[in-house]
Symmetry: C2
């Protein structure tokens, strides 16, 4: 299959956004998300549309106190953090690595479960968008060398047309109480629920480094 | 034990930073990190010092292409993302949930392993800082109602005095090749390595929601 290739300069994206009727607010969210992400990645544009759709379905303001679950580490967490203020460090964003461009958002709740909305890239809707389909399915025919800007253009044109939505019921995690204990191996302090036996997870199953020397 | 309590307005933090000789660049990193995080959390200030220390040990510029591993979801990921540009969505930050205020950073490498630096809150150094010690060890004597600003002040005064550093060897993850497959249960597309049997992880072990209805 032949896909369209790059023939336009980057700057044209902005005028295409105007032509596709993309609001100034969304354009601003693209800019802030790409700046945070560090590269002009196609997935960031899709994720901005996903966040915007979630907020609309919830009837929520971007800076309202919300919770988010992304089903992938690819791109999606960055617009979620930038646009909604749900971050990893404030515990309002988590990733459950399922491998899908899907995002669930909900309001805070005092109950063990609550209702939220899930927005996802719908495989059946990708048929009308050959470049997005090739990129999303990691097709060997897709080249990130010269198809990125035509792809982004197709994403901008598609907007929500590649997304589907569900109302879902999600579990609300309880805040765990903990006390601090010292690992019998490294001597560092960790919360007690992070210790298996007397050894912290860093000295046990989650070990990821060897010490060369103190600096 | 009696800890100092709030007696000063928030605005005094800035003049204390000047008094403690904290550079304008670090002060700017505090502001950006707190804005991103959404609340004036003590851990964010410690994490900014940790990031700054890592960068200095690596001799790196904040916007250089680096990789980071945080050993906790608490606060630390946010300054890492804001200051270094290592984000979850661009795969240059990962969290290994060990429960420690510890951060490892390294440069890109073509080898399976590379050297990095690990900066961590050192339990033995907390003895001289009663509020930080009480907060970090989750002591029942610590009240987040009226000790947060005295705590932040102690953190600003301590700077790197509560941190220790190690040179470490870390594993460099290989980029995995994958193809897209359709889950036999939900029908959505996922990378093949995210499928167990013919079912995606979202329909299997990582299931986190029940569908109420399409929207």
């Amino acid at each position: 299959m032949q896909y369209p290739k790059d023939s336009r300069p980057v700057g044209d994206l902005r005028s295409n956004m105007d032509a596709y009727g993309i609001s100034a607010e969304l354009q601003n969210q693209f800019t802030r998300s790409i700046t945070f992400h560090g590269i002009t990645a196609p997935g960031v544009f899709i994720a901005v549309f996903m966040v915007d759709y979630c907020l609309e379905l919830l009837g929520a303001h971007p800076r309202e106190r919300l919770y988010a679950i992304s089903e992938t580490y690819r791109c999606v967490p960055d617009p979620v953090q930038v646009v909604t203020g749900c971050t990893f460090g404030n515990h309002r964003l988590q990733v459950i690595p399922i491998g899908k461009f899907a995002l669930t958002m909900n309001r805070p709740a005092d109950t063990p479960e609550t209702e939220g909305v899930r927005v996802y890239v719908d495989a059946d809707k990708l048929k009308d968008f050959p470049l997005i389909n090739a990129w999303y399915t990691h097709s060997p025919g897709f080249s990130s060398l010269n198809m990125i800007y035509p792809l982004i253009d197709e994403i901008l044109k598609a907007g929500r047309d590649i997304l589907s939505v569900q109302r879902v019921r999600v579990h609300v995690p309880l805040k765990q109480s903990w006390k601090s204990v010292r690992c019998s191996s490294c001597g560092e302090l960790v919360p007690d629920m992070m210790v298996e036996g007397k050894v912290c997870r860093g000295c046990g199953p989650a070990s990821y480094y060897e010490v060369i020397s103190p600096c």
